[in-house]
């Protein structure tokens, strides 16, 4: 885990996001009905989900590693990744709701993607509630690691698979063409891919900061014991 102490990828994250903030507003976008200029939201709404995903993947990886090795640091990494992921999750939901208000007509349309995303959000909140309910450290780590390993694939199915199987307003689901094939053009891709990379790195950075703080607290508590 030595890479979390290095700086180069953090600077890369900041530079990439800064670039997409400026380019996202200046680079011309294709003309599409209903969306008009709001298609620029693509550079911000979708990267929130990439940030959430990257951090949840790291979380479930460390959950598995914890069950394999029993090292407490892995459990700390898992929970701090979930904490950061929930932040990006909320941002993704809220930005999606605002975008929906102006394109679909309401903040919440009962759309399958929106509903599924809300359910999976509660799933991860339940992870935190579960952790709070167990006092003993090792038991808490073990049980929450197992829960995490179940929650992750359920979240994937709910957000990415289920909405594609049914009617949905959301692009990429319910028979709608995803932004990728029909609406995104190469100019947008120039901004979109760096945005995804930048925000993924940013999410990981925030998670590593939280993790390092937790580690220091954990070490201090162990010294005091």
């Amino acid at each position: 885990m030595k890479i979390i102490y290095q700086t180069w990828w953090k600077i890369l994250a900041v530079v990439l996001i800064f670039y997409t903030l400026i380019a996202g507003l200046l680079v011309p976008v294709p003309v599409l009905p209903i969306l008009h200029e709001t298609i620029r939201n693509l550079y911000f709404h979708v990267p929130m989900w990439i940030g959430m995903l990257s951090v949840f993947v790291i979380s479930v990886y460390y959950s598995v590693m914890y069950l394999n090795t029993g090292k407490e640091e892995y459990d700390l990494a898992s929970v701090e990744c979930v904490n950061t992921g929930l932040l990006f999750y909320s941002l993704g939901l809220v930005t999606g709701m605002i975008w929906a208000r102006f394109t679909w007509g309401e903040f919440w349309s009962g759309d399958p993607k929106q509903n599924s995303a809300a359910i999976a959000f509660l799933l991860y909140c339940a992870y935190l509630v579960l952790r709070n309910s167990i006092d003993e450290e090792q038991k808490r780590a073990k049980i929450s690691a197992i829960y995490n390993i179940f929650a992750f694939p359920i979240m994937i199915v709910l957000i990415f698979i289920l909405p594609r199987l049914t009617d949905s307003l959301h692009p990429g689901n319910g028979g709608n063409p995803a932004f990728g094939k029909y609406d995104l053009d190469n100019r947008m891709r120039m901004v979109f891919y760096p945005a995804m990379a930048g925000w993924a790195l940013m999410a990981v950075w925030i998670a590593t900061i939280r993790y390092r703080l937790r580690l220091i607290e954990h070490k201090r508590n162990n010294i005091n014991l």
Binding site: Y5, T7, K10, V14, V15, I17, F18, Y19, L21, I22, A23, L25, L26, V27, P28, V29, P30, V31, L32, H36, E37, W205, I206, I209, R212, L213, I216, K219
Partner: protein, 69 residues
């Protein structure tokens, strides 16, 4: 490091070349032509740079504490 920063700054400045067109959606033509888009960009850029500096400061403080241990 300084050269890298200058290179990044110049690259980002090149983005201004795009400022003339705005996709022809018609929704914000006046906004772009009048140059007010730069106010929005400046606002967002300032906010983001502020947050980035804050994050780097936290990171540096953490490094100091960790070195002490």
């Amino acid at each position: 490091m300084k050269k890298l920063l200058i290179l990044i700054f110049l690259t980002l400045s090149g983005l201004v070349a795009f400022a003339g067109e705005n996709g022809g959606t018609g929704m914000a033509d006046e906004f772009y032509k009048s140059g007010r888009i730069y106010v929005v960009i400046a606002t967002i850029a300032i906010i983001f740079v502020g947050l980035a500096i804050y994050l780097f400061a936290i990171d540096r403080r953490l490094k100091k504490i960790e070195k002490g241990n």
